[in-house]
């Protein structure tokens, strides 16, 4: 299996006044294409820091971060932006949608940034994706007209619309109730299975963790266990969540 993310001896320190806060200490890990990985650990253990480094929105103090075969330290700001746009998808804890754009426009936005597709192509891709995440009736709702779960679905659709190799999600379910959160994880998992997209998400929630192929545990900036690489997404089951949401949980409305 080819590795899409490799971290070797990555440390990250944050300056805090005269102090230096070590957030990650000599972390090494690799994540293969198509994995569904959870980053777990207590608050302050460095989960967000790790995801930010993989997502190329932050730079390590030392060590190398290699994303899709590219050493990110060697890339210019411009190249990093390009990498984020083409290869990465982001899902945020608090959804972070563009408030003034409606569902369709939010999802379409990365495609406009890419500028590769015609209006018609974009319309097809976005509509299909919105149907997939169960929002085909909400094209023209603005974020403040949607529930939390719906907003996160929009965010997922936005993260997926460019068909990225890797989707990074920092506590995607933390702002959602358990049922809705389960449905979101289900949706992510099903996309992971059907499209082979690599998902790396952080969570506090043991129930959410169960769905992961692999759980990487952080404590105090170090990896305490990086889990076993399950061959085909077999680690964890999700019957209890599926039951709550019905047969096609990610299609359920709020």
């Amino acid at each position: 299996m080819s590795d899409v993310v490799v971290l070797s001896n990555v440390s990250k320190e944050y300056p805090l006044g005269k102090l230096v806060v070590p957030a990650l200490k000599e972390v090494s890990l690799s994540i293969g294409a198509g994995e569904f990985v959870s980053i777990a650990g207590p608050s302050g253990s460095g989960k967000t820091t790790l995801l930010n480094l993989v997502g190329c929105v932050d730079t390590p103090t030392s060590g190398a971060v290699i994303v899709d075969g590219l050493d990110t330290a060697r890339l210019s700001e411009r190249d990093l932006t390009r990498l984020r746009l083409e290869k990465l998808g982001f899902i945020f804890q608090s959804f972070n949608l563009i408030a003034v754009l409606d569902t369709f426009q939010n999802v379409e936005f990365p495609l406009l940034l890419q500028g590769k597709q015609s209006r018609k192509e974009r319309r097809e891709v976005v509509s299909e994706l919105l149907e997939r995440v169960g929002l085909d009736k909400h094209h023209h709702h603005r974020p403040n007209e949607l529930s939390g779960g719906q907003r996160q679905r929009v965010a997922i659709a936005r993260a997926l619309v460019t068909r990225p190799r890797i989707v990074l999600a920092d506590e995607p379910t933390a702002n959602l109730d358990t049922g809705t959160g389960g449905a979101i994880i289900d949706l992510m998992k099903s996309i992971n299975e059907t499209q082979g997209t690599t998902f790396i998400f952080s969570t506090h929630d043991a129930r959410v963790m169960k769905h992961a192929d692999r759980v990487i545990r952080l404590e105090d900036g170090r990896i305490v266990s990086s889990g076993d690489i399950a061959p085909n997404g077999a680690a964890g089951s999700r019957p209890e969540l599926s039951v709550q949401e019905g047969p096609a949980p990610y299609l359920a409305g709020e």
Binding site: I98, Q105, P110, L113
Partner: protein, 434 residues
């Protein structure tokens, strides 16, 4: 780009209060810019209209006659010959008139005023007839053989005379003695600002008699052209032509004739020398009114623009702070720095362009309304404005200027905060609280 425009426009709508406030400020400044500009144009237009009728032709052939080298008089000898030469040299002229020039006291039983005395033949003074507003008597009284004077209202009030009354003119004549002459008030005209404070008009014969001049003399030959902008060309042509026809010419000096006495008196020549000037030369000294006004206006506008730019800058800082997380998100999902910059600048561009357009339209409309209402101005301002009602002339190019310059400046003000937004590290922006 289209989507960025949409985002910018919608964000403006989202922050309605902020947008409305800033927009109101930009509208107000643009409006003021237009109004003050057209007031300036109005004064300029009035000044030129009044000036070219009352003080100068478009091109003038004046000059000095010196009996001794120590003193010059503003007299043209051989008036007929010179007039004929000028007519032949400027066949394209719209009109050619000649006036006598003098200076003296006007004395009544109650008071004395002093000023320039211009001798005219009212029968061919069309331009003058166009700008003078006679309130009593008739300009025609300065057209015949009568010894008549036209006074401006304030002069008449001070002298306590009205049409039909007699006043006495007294003036120093060439040899240093003082002559006096009784003339009848033939007309009283409305005041015309600065110009009317220190001058009045008399019939040509008055100056002939006062100075005991030869009939074949005059003071200045004034050439009116269809296109005043041709004045410089015509001046050059006249100078050359007059020299060829054996007239002596003074050095070319772009100044009003009444400023040249001293210089002429200091020069070592006698006899007749002609002086050719344009209306711009003659009005050079009255133009200070314009310059003063322009300076005050520019200062005022400058200060207001700076305030608006600071306002825009401030608003932009707030906008950027409010949307720092959004910036982080957009950068994370692959939006480049330039696009972030453009997205924020577009807000200002839209806001200021729409506001400037509105301000310009309002300004032009108000200027039209003020003109139509014929707002009277206070006497103090009348001197300045050369008119007793407010007159605004809206110049199309100044409207275009306002619509271009105001958005440019405000966008410039937004540049700094917006570029700060664009340069933010994505992670820093995302971690921003709020």
């Amino acid at each position: 780009m289209g989507r960025l425009l949409l985002i910018a426009a919608r964000n403006l709508m989202q922050n309605r209060r902020r947008t409305a406030l800033l927009s109101a400020a930009i509208v107000a400044v643009t409006m003021l810019l237009v109004l003050l500009g057209s007031l300036g144009n109005g004064i300029q237009a009035t000044l030129l209209e009044a000036g070219t009728a009352m003080l100068t032709g478009h091109v003038n052939v004046g000059g000095f006659y010196k009996i001794t080298s120590g003193m010059g008089s503003p007299i043209l000898v051989e008036a007929e010959r010179t007039l004929k030469d000028v007519r032949e040299l400027v066949p394209e002229s719209a009109q050619i008139v000649d006036r006598r020039r003098g200076f003296g006291k006007i004395v009544s039983e109650s008071d004395t005023v002093q000023g320039a005395l211009t001798g005219i033949d009212a029968t061919n003074e069309d331009a003058l007839r166009g700008v003078l507003r006679i309130v009593e008597g008739s300009l025609d009284s300065l057209g015949g053989e009568d010894l008549s004077i036209l006074l401006f209202q304030k002069q008449a009030e001070r002298l306590k005379v009205s049409v039909g009354d007699d006043v006495t003119l007294s003036s120093q004549v060439v040899r240093g003695q003082t002559n006096a002459l009784k003339v009848r008030v033939g007309a009283i005209a409305k005041d015309m600002g600065l110009i009317s404070i220190m001058s009045s008009y008399v019939s040509k014969n008055v100056l002939r008699d006062l100075y005991q001049l030869d009939p074949d003399t005059t003071g200045v030959i004034m050439v009116y052209l269809d296109d005043p902008d041709q004045a410089a060309t015509v001046k050059a042509k006249l100078r050359e032509g007059l020299l060829q026809r054996n007239h002596r010419l003074m050095e070319d000096e772009p100044d009003a004739f009444y400023h040249k006495f001293q210089q002429v008196a200091g020069e070592d020549w006698t006899g007749m020398k002609l002086d050719v000037t344009t209306w711009e030369d003659e009005l050079a000294n009255v133009q200070w009114t314009m310059k003063t006004f322009d300076t005050i206006t520019s200062l005022l506008i400058g200060v207001l623009l700076v305030i608006v730019i600071i306002g825009v800058m401030n608003t932009m800082w707030i906008t950027v702070r409010d949307r720092t997380r959004e910036i982080g998100t957009l950068r994370a999902i692959g939006m480049g720095r330039l696009r972030v910059l453009v997205m924020f600048l577009l807000e200002t561009v839209i806001l200021s362009t729409v506001s400037a357009l509105l301000g310009v339209s309002l300004g032009a409309a108000i200027a039209g309304l003020l003109n139509w209402l014929q707002i009277p101005v206070s006497p103090g301002f009348q001197i300045f404005l050369m008119s007793d009602t407010l007159r605004l002339v809206v110049a199309p190019y100044s409207l275009v200027m306002a619509v271009v310059v105001v958005p440019l400046l405000t966008t410039f003000g937004a540049l700094f905060p917006a570029s700060r937004a664009a340069r933010l590290k994505p992670v820093t922006a995302m971690q921003h609280a709020g």
